[in-house]
């Protein structure tokens, strides 16, 4: 890794020794709380420069206030999302679609995909989500009084929902999870290898569905039309890859952080179990307190932002975990209040790229909590174990061993 120099146009006094990768609490930490660790930036200025704030060691501006993040993310003309995050791992530069397209092309593809994951559509998908949660939890309950929540529930649950959405068989679940793990958390050898495997898989699936259409997501994509034409192979791939990786880690992490909180806060756990109607609101608060994504944009032109000289090509970070702890936006931001109202958190981003899967993600989190609390008695973190949390481009939690003996 190279040490990143601070660009000449960045005033030295605006540089801070902070990043989601290298600051205290960001490395894998037993019993860590990376979200609380990043909240310390609110003692400082609304914008500063972080010399090492991406996986590949690039510097970014860091926007701390929720209102400013909203301004940046709503302005896709000035702050572009085309970074080729995925294809750059292959030395290529095609966009994931619609995430890495800017308006107006973005809107065309977004409109195509919105109905597939709209609130209305979720009513149809919901029974299968619930059925899947119940099956997994019943199996866990029948096999003992403890489990590794991430391995035994959060990942199999969220990944299988997503595989069904794509029309892929459950028995390949472990394979897909392995690819995703290598891609999102692997080293410089595993990451491009996983990226290549995923591209080959998506291309092959698209070819298959072109020849033999069935009633699934990929068939819809290969048959779809935008502006009176079929999608190109690269567009189909851009959509397929995005959908493949977007649904894998994030929802599982949200469920994990949520259950870890409830395991440590028995009163809140009891309350939600006794009054499950509170879970919908509580899930929003858990999303606020424990989001997993840092969104990065690229400036398309020079702009002075709150006194910071952002120049064309600069990276601008809008980390949901930072916006969600903004005291100007949330009263007592570091306190989890499961009854919090008017909770306009940033877990799914702002602006035209608002998480396309947010409605599905919300239902998975709510249903996962509902069914878990209904079927598993008072649970705690197992003695002599410690969940391991990590920061970085996707905040996560592992080794979450719950015990209800």
């Amino acid at each position: 890794m190279t040490i990143n120099a601070v660009p000449d146009h960045v005033p030295p006094e605006m540089v801070r020794d902070f990043s989601l990768f290298t600051s205290p609490g960001m490395a894998p930490t037993p019993n860590g709380d990376p979200h609380a660790a990043v909240a310390c930036v609110h003692a400082g200025p609304p914008i500063f420069y972080s010399p090492y704030n991406t996986r590949d060691g690039r510097g970014t501006w860091v926007i701390t206030r929720a209102a400013d993040q909203r301004r940046v993310l709503q302005d896709a003309e000035t702050f572009s999302s085309h970074r080729s995050i995925f294809s750059s791992a292959l030395g290529e530069n095609w966009p994931m679609i619609p995430l890495e397209l800017d308006p107006p092309a973005h809107g065309v593809f977004r409109s195509l995909l919105n109905p597939l994951l709209s609130p209305k559509r979720l009513v149809v998908l919901e029974p299968k989500v619930r059925e899947r949660a119940i099956t997994l939890i019943l199996r866990i309950a029948a096999s003992g009084t403890s489990c590794d929540v991430m391995k035994d529930f959060a990942f199999p649950f969220t990944v299988s929902i997503f595989l069904r959405l794509l029309g892929l068989p459950d028995h390949r679940l472990d394979t897909f999870v392995g690819w995703a793990k290598d891609l999102l958390h692997g080293d410089n050898v595993k990451r491009p290898a996983a990226a290549r495997t995923i591209v080959a898989f998506i291309d092959e699936l698209a070819t298959k569905r072109r020849k033999e259409p069935v009633d699934d997501f990929m068939t819809f994509i290969v048959q779809a039309q935008v502006e009176g034409r079929r999608l190109t192979e690269e567009e189909v791939r851009g959509i397929g890859v995005l959908v493949f990786i977007a649904g894998l880690d994030t929802v599982a992490a949200a469920i994990g952080f949520g259950l870890a909180y409830l395991a440590r806060n028995i009163k809140d756990q009891d309350l939600l179990r006794r009054e499950p109607d509170r879970i919908v609101l509580a899930a929003e608060e858990l999303l606020r307190a424990y989001p997993s994504v840092q969104i990065i944009r690229v400036a398309t032109k020079d702009i002075d932002f709150e006194g910071a000289p952002i120049r064309k090509g600069d990276y601008v970070s809008c980390a949901a975990m930072i916006a969600n702890r903004d005291p100007a936006e949330f009263e007592c931001p570091n306190t989890v209040d499961l009854a919090r109202e008017d909770n306009r958190h940033a877990a799914f981003g702002f602006g035209p790229h608002r998480c396309l899967g947010s409605h599905l993600a919300r239902r998975e989190i709510v249903i996962g909590l509902e069914e878990w609390l209904a079927r598993i008695p008072a649970f705690r973190i197992q003695n002599a174990t410690a969940p391991i949390t990590s920061g970085g481009h996707l905040f996560g939690i592992e080794n979450l061993i719950l015990d209800w003996s």
């Binding site: 909203r70 709503q74 409109s111 919105n114 109905p115 709209s118 609130p119 209305k120 919908v280 109202e341 008017d342 909770n343 306009r344 958190h345 940033a346 799914f348 702002f350 602006g351 035209p352 608002r354 947010s358 409605h359």
Partner: protein, 81 residues
């Protein structure tokens, strides 16, 4: 009470309709239908909660004079009478 809908700001979070589905109607993609919303009495509490839940600040509360005379969610101050 009236809710001013800034349609261009709506990004389909659908938090408003999660709070008050009868007040905030969405299209097939999950975005708010265009046009300001006249809120019926009895729906004002949920409607204002829905408006306040918009992450994009696309919904603006516009209390009409009538609504100001009889604000909902505030108990009559009997003790004063």
């Amino acid at each position: 009470m009236r809710i001013i809908v800034h349609k261009a700001k709506c990004q389909g979070h659908a938090r408003c309709s999660a709070q008050a589905p009868d007040v905030f109607k969405l299209d097939d993609e999950g975005y708010i239908l265009p046009g300001d919303i006249e809120v019926a009495e009895g729906e004002q509490l949920l409607a204002s909660r829905g408006a306040r839940s918009c992450p994009e600040r696309a919904l603006e509360l516009d209390p009409t004079p009538a609504a100001r005379v009889v604000p909902d969610a505030i108990e009559p101050r009997v003790w004063r009478a």
